[in-house]
Amino acid sequence: MTELTDFLPYIVVVWLAIIGLYGMATSGNLFHLIMCLCVFQSSIWILLLSIGYRREATAPIFDDVSPEVSVIDPVMQALSLTDIVVGATIVAILLTIAIQVHKRLGTLDPNQLNSIQK
């Protein structure tokens, strides 16, 4: 049982990564493609958090525990926070580009964007 719970987060990471990439590769709509990118990003967050996780350890906040107690990795937490912010900015800029594509070309289907028009 220990074995499974140790590696379950990594299984979830692999599953989310490949399902997100598959969705992005076969997407028929730009907004659907961006949502698939979000799924792929969430696999990275789970990967970062599960690297830093330690059994029977507490959050790295010492306001009510003594500094000797074992904590999970604060670097991974800070990195996942960074990643969430960067992911939000990427999604924002991609949504903007999708809106502009729809305004200029009247379609959201990536298959119809074969040639640069105008």
Binding site: A17, P67, V75
Partner: protein
């Protein structure tokens, strides 16, 4: 390439990638292992030398503040760059004012319950976000989280059905000023630290005693500045996206 061939190739590649990733995951640390030495070092440094009880804040706003600066530059660039990408196309004649008026587009009916709840919650939400910002060095909290909560106050006004009020706030100069104060303040704090202590984001303020409100040196100040920047940038991003109506007038 037809869709079925593409799906087939994507499925094959996804399966191969999944197997490779799964093999790679065997070398990842299990939950029983010790965390990396760098994490342990930063956890100790943040409490002992910076008097920051929240290690994540200590890492983000002091020990690895350079990464936070890059993150803020990304936020700033996106919120400014959306304006450039979302320029008007030639067909788009009546983007804002006329389509927004009630004649051409009926205002969305919002029930009284939702409207009163959203309006009542907007101001406390902004205050709560500020509270999360300023206590980042003591316990759970920090600039980014607080900034997102502040920005959600603006979205509450939109949910209440007051799209015009939200537009007015979003196009107000105060929002841009807040973003500039956040971004410029972080840069100035970093440069002052560079000149006075010799390292970027060096600590120049007294550290106080651990657990006090005025402690942690530059951490609470940077946290509040980052909160301003994140709140203003997210509010600008949301209002940029909402001002797009996706309805084009055909060329006469």
């Amino acid at each position: 390439m037809s869709m079925s061939i593409r799906k087939f190739i994507a499925a094959i590649s996804a399966i191969i990638l999944g197997v490779l990733l799964a093999i790679g995951m065997f070398y990842m640390p299990a939950a029983d292992d010790e965390i990396a030495a760098y994490g342990l070092l930063l956890a100790d440094l943040s409490v002992d030398e910076r008097n920051s009880m929240n290690t994540v804040s200590g890492v983000l706003f002091d020990l690895r503040a350079l990464d936070t600066l890059g993150e803020l530059i990304a936020l700033f660039t996106v919120s400014a760059g959306m304006n450039i990408i979302l320029r008007k196309v030639s067909k788009e004649k009546f983007r804002d004012k006329r389509l927004l008026s009630r004649k051409s587009r009926p205002a969305v009916k919002v029930s009284d319950t939702i409207r009163s709840l959203c309006l009542a919650l907007a101001a406390p939400m902004a205050m709560y976000g500020l509270y999360i910002c300023v206590r980042g060095h003591l316990t759970i909290g920090g600039g980014f989280q607080g900034g997102v909560i502040i920005a959600s106050a603006l979205i509450l006004i939109y949910l209440a059905g007051f799209f015009n009020v939200q537009e007015k706030i979003a196009h107000n100069v105060i929002l841009n000023l807040t973003e500039s104060i956040g971004m410029g303040g972080v840069l100035i704090a970093g440069l002052v630290g560079l000149f006075l202590t010799g390292s970027l984001f060096g600590n120049i303020l007294p550290l106080g005693s651990p657990g006090d409100f005025f402690s942690g040196g530059m951490i609470p100040i940077l946290s509040v500045l980052v909160g301003f920047e994140a709140a203003a940038a997210l509010a600008l991003i949301v209002s940029h996206l909402q001002s797009q109506l996706l309805e084009l007038e055909e060329k006469p």
